[in-house]
Symmetry: C2
Subunit: 135 residues, 2 copies
Amino acid sequence: MKKIDILKKLRSSGLRPTKQRVEIAKFLFEREKTFHFTVESLNKLLSKKSGSKIALATIYNTVHAFKTAGHLSEVEVRGNKTYFDTNVSNHHHFYDSETSELIDIDANDIIIQKLPKVPNGKKIKNVEVFINLKN
Amino acid sequence: MKKIDILKKLRSSGLRPTKQRVEIAKFLFEREKTFHFTVESLNKLLSKKSGSKIALATIYNTVHAFKTAGHLSEVEVRGNKTYFDTNVSNHHHFYDSETSELIDIDANDIIIQKLPKVPNGKKIKNVEVFINLKN
DNA sequence: ATCTAGTTTATAATTATTCTAAAGTGAAAA
DNA sequence: TTTTCACTTTAGAATAATTATAAACTAGAT
Ligand SMILES: [Mn+2]
Ligand SMILES: [Mn+2]
Ligand SMILES: [Zn+2]
Ligand SMILES: [Zn+2]
């Protein structure tokens, strides 16, 4: 991902490209594979990578702005902390509770044959499949 | 559900049948349909029903003992608070984000035709399907 | 270069949950 | 029965994730 794309992500999130935000954005989006993280893990990885300690509030704010803009999604995982996901397409997850690790499943790799009838007056927004793993 | 069953639920959870625990257990298990709740909502409903204010710590402790004993399950829902479920069989959920309401889906009402290959050395513990609703 | 709206940050506040320790109680034993 | 004591309840403190605050800073327009 080019610097120009990073700047685009920031601008489209209503964020001016400050040093901190660019560092967070590059860390999140300059990668090949999906990245699943919590604010805590992101903070640790950022500190380790560049020594520069970005305030937690800035990380929360930036991550939330990206989420609101649709550049990050949120994944529900058992536990207290919120997980974020750089994969914003419609997809599913394996969850390995041994390692607390999320693994992407492409939407096309799961086919649901039978669905229940939807409650009156409601429509399906989306379907999420969560596969818990054990050893 | 008979009083004897309530006592059974308590004993099998390693809990002596005190006044508070019996009140909580009756409220949770003496009903026909599944009951989905948070500790906060349960607390409010219990207070409203009987005026007797059971300490929050007691509600947390009792609910957790039931969960550990397998008499309650936990459901992952977007948001900060933990949801519990009196339906401990394998099943799925609709989630109506307008009303923050969970609705049970029987396991047999969803058939998954194609599943992805599981990561090496891992097995599937269970599959949870979550259907988000909109109006 | 100056100015200002937007930003960062340390710190406080909030919220859900868990812990603690003192006072209370169920039920087994005497 | 009364005694006894391990188990309970409870109020309040502690913890942990997240959000709010407000003072010091800065990007970028002028
Ligand atoms: Mn969660
Ligand atoms: Mn949740
Ligand atoms: Zn993902
Ligand atoms: Zn349910």
